[in-house]
Amino acid sequence: MKKPAAFAILLLLASPASGAGFFDGVPTKGYVIDDVSLDVLSAEGGTDPIARLRYVRLSLDPGRRDIAYDFWPQREMLMVERATGEKVIFERLIRLQPGSDPTAWAPRGRVGIDGSTLETFARAAGTQGACSALDVLIRAGNVDLPLSSGDLSSRTVRLGVAQAVETAVAERGRELVASSVPILYAATTKGLPAPPLDMLNLLFPGRAFARSAEGLTFRPSAGAPLDPAGGAWRSVTNAPVMLPGAPVF
């Protein structure tokens, strides 16, 4: 007997987000609020960095001037480039203007790895039917998985999310995420914020990532900062136009 395609259930869970990309509707131009670039050195690794980091926080131009600058949406990008050349980015969107449809999924968090992505969406109100109470959507590759944020402790939900993530992201990609997390937590002592990592609670529910990294030191990046619009980063994220300063009205 043919074994049923495990996890294919997830493909059935059509949602309003289907067809809408994570960056659809997200302003493409932003003003830099924070920009930190660091080289990560290991006590055992000599003077060559084991990883390079860049954190950028942008105030996204909504394209209208009836919203005060302080209330513009923001995009955070936490980029990691390992010595191997592997890249991963953790992104967070906040203060996005609510759309006219409260049941529409709005983008929240994103992990970009070369060749695969994990994304989270949220909505303010549900629709009719058995799935009406679900307020979070995880998109793992081309699979949409709606869930209730109140169910993250559920064994079934954890298993379902884990299966979706494992299907969408190769083992090496998951290892890249897992090994980057302690570096990023260690870098919070140098001004890199942790909130872009909060989405990991959704994408890897119940998983305890290591938060401490032994023997790491950080120094301001000696080279050019990582450029989300350049080279291989283009397969990892959708880079915005990043402008210095603040808008002149």
């Binding site: 059935l12 679900l134 709606p146 079934t156």
Partner: protein, 201 residues
Amino acid sequence: MRRLALLLAAAALSRPAFADDVAFSRIADEGSITITAARATRGSGPSATVVIVLENARGDRVFLRRAPVDGGGASYQIWLGGPPGVTFTRRGDTVQVEAGGHSLTIDESEIARPTVACWVATLVSNAEPKLLDVAAALSLLKEQTGGPPMDDAFLPIRLLWPVAPPSDLRPRGAVRFQKGPFHGEAFDRLAAAATAELGRR
């Protein structure tokens, strides 16, 4: 005494190996709702195979089939009209739900959680669009009859109760549960349908 024991043993051996028990029951209101159930059983205890065929007044049938599976546990199939329908395979406290070539593993105790209910409802309704309505209707009738509890063979129905939307079935008057035996050609056909599914794998 020894002779008696030998006689009893001989009697037991002479019994057909596949002697199947078939029992009938019926739920009916004072209007047009009548659901007749034929329950065929082969074996006993956890290794028993049970098939229940439910038939309404229009002749629509719902099949439930419970059978042991290798390695422990049991599989519970439910279909309307023809198989394969939806299969629930229970091992310990987890249940694998399979339908339409897709599967989902759930913790049985979490079926009422909004996320789990959504996932199960989506899987089931894609494969058997009317099954949730059937589960809701049976739940409603069960509530009104106060009949005997639905046993293990009804696991698919019981699992789908919290997932299903409220039934739009409107019974008239009192709803009663009756146990058989019942006799007649219609019951024979129902019994034959149930018995035929006992041997299917």
